[in-house]
């Protein structure tokens, strides 16, 4: 018993709920990657060990697995903190916003940078729970400022939208260049 106690104190760490879930996930990930090393990297016969293309993946994944195993051990030996699955749910909630981001990125080449950004800012502000005219106009205004700053002033490399092609001649060129 005393030996178990000392082992526990050695691995006791600062942690939050859900730590053990992360510990399992990262360990499974590193073991999976390590198992792929034969397929996914090459070994040139005759070459020096340190110059092998396999060397650094092997070192990093090997050590990653070791660290992950200890991390899991530490997590398993520490006192359980309630709220593990609630925490995991909050991780999953982030996927919704990742989806918003990807949808936004996917629609810019079609809808044009300015219209898509303004729409996205308003829609996401509504999703975030803002209903007041003040906040929504702030969202519109800020998104216009961002577009003007990056596309028109800094000339950052962003695609011009397909939608602009439908505009009349003079306006089309202007929108394609600046917005």
């Amino acid at each position: 018993m005393s030996r178990v106690k000392t082992l526990q104190s050695l691995f006791k760490r600062y942690r939050r709920p859900g730590d053990i879930v992360f510990a399992w996930l990262i360990l499974i990930f590193s073991i999976f990657m390590l198992l792929q090393i034969g397929d996914q990297t090459a070994y040139k016969s005759g070459g020096k060990l340190f110059a092998q293309p396999r060397f650094w993946p092997a070192v990093s994944l090997g050590l990653m697995t070791v660290f992950a195993a200890f991390h899991l051990l530490g997590s398993a030996l520490s006192e359980r903190i309630e709220g593990r699955w609630r925490e995991v749910l909050s991780w999953l909630a982030a996927f919704e916003y990742a989806g918003w981001f990807i949808a936004y990125a996917a629609s810019v080449p079609y809808g044009g940078y300015l219209p898509t950004t303004v729409l996205f800012a308003v829609a996401l502000s509504l999703r975030a729970g803002y209903r007041s005219v003040r906040m929504l106009s702030a969202a519109i205004l800020s998104s216009i400022v961002i577009v003007v700053l990056f596309k028109a002033v800094l000339k950052v490399n962003l695609p011009s939208g397909l939608i602009y092609e439908t505009l009349p001649d003079g306006l089309r060129q202007f929108m394609l260049t600046y917005f």
Partner: protein, 505 residues
């Protein structure tokens, strides 16, 4: 002397001056808003700076880096919410002072101490540069390899209480940079047959995901909150006089900042904790610490502001970044084909001096700006946090997409955003991943180029600098083991789960 003039000349351009103003004032504002730190801002602006001249882009990013901590002190002192992660200790003494009605005194002291630390750091950088120019050429491939290895070891060990997690993440970073086509043997590594993985995983895509997108997700999934800081009355210059009574604390704290800023992987946190402990131990009123001690405030602010200048030392002289922000700046150098390292001091010394002057100027600009606009800033920081999340998401898109107009990059970045959110919520560090990627790449290249000259493993350490570096590595590991054993024997009480509560900003 000629080079000094050349450096000054570099700054005497309207676009550089503009970048300096935008960077330093923008940095103060970004630092002052709880929820966005310099890492988010630099990650977003990084791709935009690639089209600018190196000196313009670098002064802007340097401005944000150097000035954000000034701004971060405002919410730390007034509402007990550090504006940037490194202002955490400032709130220990700053907020109790505000509660006692001394908010104005605390702020002016914080600014003065920050200025002291900032200028002290730059002074050391300037004084050290002749030495650096002398030592840097002695760094060959194996020395740089060992220095990068030391950086990795230190960044892992610096996360006390989370060493296994930091180790996992640092190794994950090293692994990430190996994905793609190997540059020497042209073999695929972990591409799983996908063509988009052949060119590797882009550092900036990862940085934007881990720092910017994750912050947006974090703010959007958390309850909405509006930081509410009250305005303060009084002259901001009064802090300078009071600082003069605590010159010793300010200087020692700045020195801690410089020394720890130079060492890769340690940075602001360790510097702050060490100087705070020093100030408390040598103070006449140690009982006041944590309850509104001006010395504690000075120690923490002087230490963290001395770091940016010092962090430039390994970056410029060896090309080795010591923390996430300088790692990001390294990519600006690379894009412009200016490779930091020993040759920089021989070929581009004017750029180096230009950066020094930019650092001095930015401290002066920020100080003057803050003396007049603190109350304005207390109004600006009242941005609701979810709204801030929406804005960060829109801005991150510019950063990721402008790199090479790739939707795949956006998806990879979003995936790293979710990973970053998990790490933030678990209070695990993000920096080891970034340093692992950058230092891992450096280690692989340098070890390969050192290979032909190595007959036996001992050749690795048969030169003075490489031997010293090796000795330091052994020493660091030994000291760490010793503290572990000591702590184990001492059997400490329950640990503070929030000691590293630093990842959420």
């Amino acid at each position: 002397m000629e080079n000094l003039y050349a450096g000054l000349e570099m700054l005497a351009r309207w676009d550089v001056v503009l970048a300096l103003f935008v960077g330093s004032i923008g940095g103060v504002i970004i630092g002052a808003i709880p929820g966005v730190g310099p890492a988010v801002a630099i990650a977003i602006l990084l791709p935009a700076t690639f089209s600018l001249d190196p000196i313009v882009g670098l002064t802007m990013l340097l401005g944000i880096y150097g000035s954000s901590m000034y701004g971060g002190a405002i919410p730390a002192i007034l509402i007990n919410t550090p504006g940037t992660a490194v202002n955490a200790l400032t709130s220990y003494d700053g907020y109790p002072m505000t509660q006692k009605g001394e908010g104005h005194r605390a702020l002016s002291l914080a600014y003065s101490a920050s200025f002291w630390g900032g200028i002290f750091g730059i002074g050391c950088l300037i004084l050290l540069s002749p030495v650096l120019a002398l030592i840097a050429p002695m760094f060959g491939s194996r020395e740089i390899f060992l220095a990068a290895l030391l950086g990795i070891i230190l960044v892992v060990l610096a996360h006390r209480g989370q060493i296994f997690a930091a180790g996992v993440l640092a190794m994950f970073g090293i692994f990430l940079q190996t994905v793609g086509l190997d540059a020497v043997t042209y073999t695929q590594r972990y591409t799983f047959g996908y063509s988009f993985l052949s060119s590797g995983i882009n550092l900036i895509v990862v940085v934007l995901g881990l720092f910017a997108l994750s912050q947006a997700f974090f703010l959007l999934t958390a309850p909405d909150n509006v930081p509410d800081a009250k305005s303060v009355q009084g002259k901001m210059t009064s802090g300078i006089k009071e600082l003069m009574k605590h010159k010793r604390v300010a200087t020692v704290a700045s020195a801690f900042g410089v020394v720890l800023g130079m060492i890769p992987g340690t940075g602001e946190f360790t510097a702050q904790f060490m100087s705070y402990t020093y100030a408390q131990k040598t103070s006449k009123n140690p009982e006041l610490f944590g309850k509104g001690s001006p010395e504690g405030l000075i120690a923490s602010e002087a230490a963290n502001n001395a770091v940016p200048a010092a962090a430039m030392i390994p970056l410029l002289a060896l090309g080795i970044p010591g923390e996430a922000l300088t790692a990001m700046m390294l990519s600006v150098f690379y894009v412009h084909n200016v490779i930091p390292g020993p040759q920089l001091f021989q070929n581009n010394i004017d750029l180096v001096y230009g950066l020094y002057f930019a650092l001095i100027l930015l401290n002066v600009i920020v100080m003057i700006f803050l003396l007049f606009s603190t109350n304005l800033l207390t109004k600006i920081i009242r941005v609701p946090t979810r709204f801030l999340g929406v804005m960060i998401l829109i801005l991150s898109f510019v950063g990721v997409y402008s790199l090479r107009n790739s939707l795949t990059d956006c998806m990879i970045s979003a995936a790293f955003g979710v990973l970053g959110l998990i790490l933030k919520r678990l209070n695990l560090p993000i920096v080891p991943i970034i340093l692992g990627m950058v230092l891992g790449g450096i280690m692989e290249i340098k070890l390969r180029s050192a290979m032909p000259r190595l007959k036996t493993p001992f050749d690795m350490i048969d030169r003075p600098i490489s031997f010293i570096l090796f000795a330091i590595i052994v020493l660091v590991l030994a000291v760490h083991l010793r503290t572990l054993i000591k702590e184990y024997r001492a059997q400490q009480g329950p640990e503070d789960h929030d000691l590293h509560d630093s990842q959420t900003r």
